[in-house]
Amino acid sequence: MKKISRLALGLAGLVGLAAITGLEAEEAKTPVPGGTLNMIAQPEPPILMVGLNTQGPTLYVGGQIYQSLLTYGTGLEVLPSLAKAWDVSEDGLTYSFTLQDGVKWHDGQPFTAEDVVFTADKFLREAHPRWRYIASTYVESVTSPAPGKVIFQLKKPFSAFLYAFELSSFPVVPKHIYEGTDYRTNPANQTPVGTGPFKLEEWKRGSYIHLVKNEDYWKPGQPYLDELYFRIIPDAASRAVAFEKGAVDVLRGGDVEGFAVRRLAKLDGVETTTAGWEMYSPVVFLQMNTRKAPLDEKRVRQAVMHALDREFIVKNVFFGLGKPATSPVASTTRFHSQDVAAYPFDMAKAKALLDEAGVKPAEHTLRLMPIPYGSQWDRLAEYVKQQIEQLGFKVSIQGVDPGGWSQALSEWDFDMTFNFTYQYGDPALGVARHYLSANIIKGTPFGNNQGYVNPKVDELLLAGASAVSAEDAAKAYAEAQKILTEEVALGWLYEMHNVTISREKVKNLVTTGIGLNEAMDEVWLAK
């Protein structure tokens, strides 16, 4: 249980907050069963089947229905979920999991090791791009030698493997429903069957998603809540009003805009925390297409970095909800290194770098494509445009919708854009994908779309991934971070701090490093 403290105003307060909320403190009261929790799913998820869609809202709602083998604490410690115990062989090649007893699917069928094998070997291998990659690169076999036991045999060591069992990476799906079917069009996707503490009762598209307590949940006496409502409210201002009027009890990071966070945090009986995002630790970056002149020139990218006042961005564009990023690896992720090239805000230095590179900015028009995720991102684009124009470049902002953005990025048809990456606890899972030259593939917005190539970095990242000892991994990742920052493989802007806002009556809301995506089996409402 986390101590949740009131949000202090201003940047300093917010940075400090992350430390405070990390403290463990025992809640004095004992949980009271019953009650309804109202939340917001924004935007409305297209589907609740986590194995087919890993977007934020899908995970938020689907996380109450589906579960993975493991979960992770706010300090990224590995915690049990559907697996109650696990063991890693000394050579780092064999991972054995012991499953919880007496777990049932929502349709009453028993949950078995066969479900896990099917999930790993069949379902996710076909439908889940991230698992596909891990499975084909590292996994030799998945077997169940005995009931309640699953063994993953690896081809080569993978230091991040134990972190690959987070909800969005490895949601366990029921074999008896999906085996031999077309996963995407299986009608069961509309009536999700998981092992989680809540079951889908009704989904009124455009209005709400209603989940009810799973009476047969495998943790005795849990969940405490009877009902969950995820409301669909498309307008950000209306969402703020919904919280204010008491129609919803919880706001997830991103549900309301930064400015409203400040105001809502000051209301009576309201608590805030930035905990619960440690596993994801999104890092926002400016992606510069290194195939295009003049961005192919390292010093131009360095100049751009010097021209951006990242403190200003955090303070004025994102209303203090973040901190400037210094490295590709977030400060909350394993193997974060401080020994990197720094880019303080310095227009003179930026101009000097351009001169040194012999680039005449007036000759270049750069296209800047904002990420279409809401007004703060538009402001970010406007700020970046304004700063880069002061270097002498011409910048034209290309407005795109999510479809257009995804496509342009996937096909490398951009000069500059923004993106952010979830870290998934380990550089091999969420970070390396943006820098490995093997990941320069068309068709995904979340690969090495800027076309960065450095064989040395490839080597270091792979060495880190397959290191057996943590020290070896740390060494390789530290060196990689040094090179990446020096070459500005991406323009890291800031680490997002997502604030969860809730009413004081909601207890035990954020307990792990996956925050609100965690099964809310321990959440209860004080009377």
Partner: protein
């Protein structure tokens, strides 16, 4: 002189003209009054109105001057309004004239085509067009034009149909003038007044449509427009009302002024049809 006298009798029309002239003046002089780009942060972020005399209407979250934004926004709104209307009028007049003049199959075909466009809700269609071709000032202007021409086509078709049988047109046919020539030199000049009245009202609608598109996030990101300002400010309506109120008022009075002018024109041009408008 009678035209102007009739126009001037319309008190509201004079007010409208005065307001629109003011807006035009501001739009023209914007770069002189505010030499710095309206996108450039120039002051402390989120200053309220009159907090700092340098920024009488306050600043937004990036410290940009709201007044400068309004001045530059006037250019965009008027530009989109006028250009999209011009394009729509050209399309509408061409289709309406052909349909009305030739009648028969051509009329049937063109009117069915017009009907397709009228059946799809105009704003929904505009959204689709702008979204799939990406929002730029060109795509927005074009999208507005594409959804607003059908009423012009219908109007012009009606006028052409009734004028076609008039004596002076029949005379031209007998003399052997070509179809296009008759349409351009004989009939079109006689349909100008209702077209002008309709067009003036369309400019107003176009400005509203542009602001609605911007509100939905489908504005041109390189152009400071009023709709954009409201769209950017709407999530902060509670905290910084001035950011959305001033551009809202700007839209309101500009559209109002144009409507008043349209009415005045209508009264002045069609004295016998006083009140026939839609």
């Amino acid at each position: 002189m009678t035209f102007f006298r009739r126009y001037a009798q319309h008190y509201g029309a004079l007010v409208g003209l005065a307001i629109l002239s003011g807006v035009l003046l501001v739009a023209l002089l914007a770069p002189l009054i505010y030499p710095v780009s309206p996108w450039q942060g120039v002051g402390e972020p989120l200053l309220g109105p009159f907090e700092d005399p340098a920024f009488p209407l306050g600043t937004d979250m990036l410290g940009r001057d709201i007044a400068a934004g309004l001045a530059y926004g006037a250019r965009v709104s008027l530009l989109i309004g006028v250009v999209s209307t011009a394009v729509a009028v050209v399309i509408g007049v061409s289709i309406g004239a052909l349909a009305g003049f030739y009648g028969g199959r051509i009329d049937d075909l063109l009117m069915r085509f017009t009907e397709f466009f009228q059946t799809i809700p105009a704003f929904a269609m505009a959204i689709v067009l702008v979204a799939i071709f990406n929002p730029t000032i060109a795509s927005i202007t074009l999208a507005i034009a594409v959804v607003s021409w059908p009423p012009v086509a219908r109007l012009v078709r009606g006028e052409f149909m009734s004028l076609r049988s008039r004596e002076f047109v029949q005379a031209a046919v007998v003399v052997g003038q070509s179809g296009p020539r008759i349409m351009l030199t004989q009939i079109l000049p006689n349909t100008l007044s209702p077209i002008i009245v309709t067009a003036s009202l369309m400019v107003a609608t176009a400005i509203l449509t542009e602001s609605s598109l911007s509100f939905l996030g489908l504005g041109d990101r390189n152009m400071m427009s009023w709709g954009f300002m409201i769209g950017a400010a709407r999530t902060m309506l509670r905290e910084a009302w001035w950011m959305s109120v001033f551009p809202g008022v700007a839209i309101l009075i500009t559209v109002l002024a144009i409507n008043l002018i349209g009415e005045g024109l209508n009264d002045a041009m069609n004295p016998h049809l006083r009140g026939r408008k839609g």
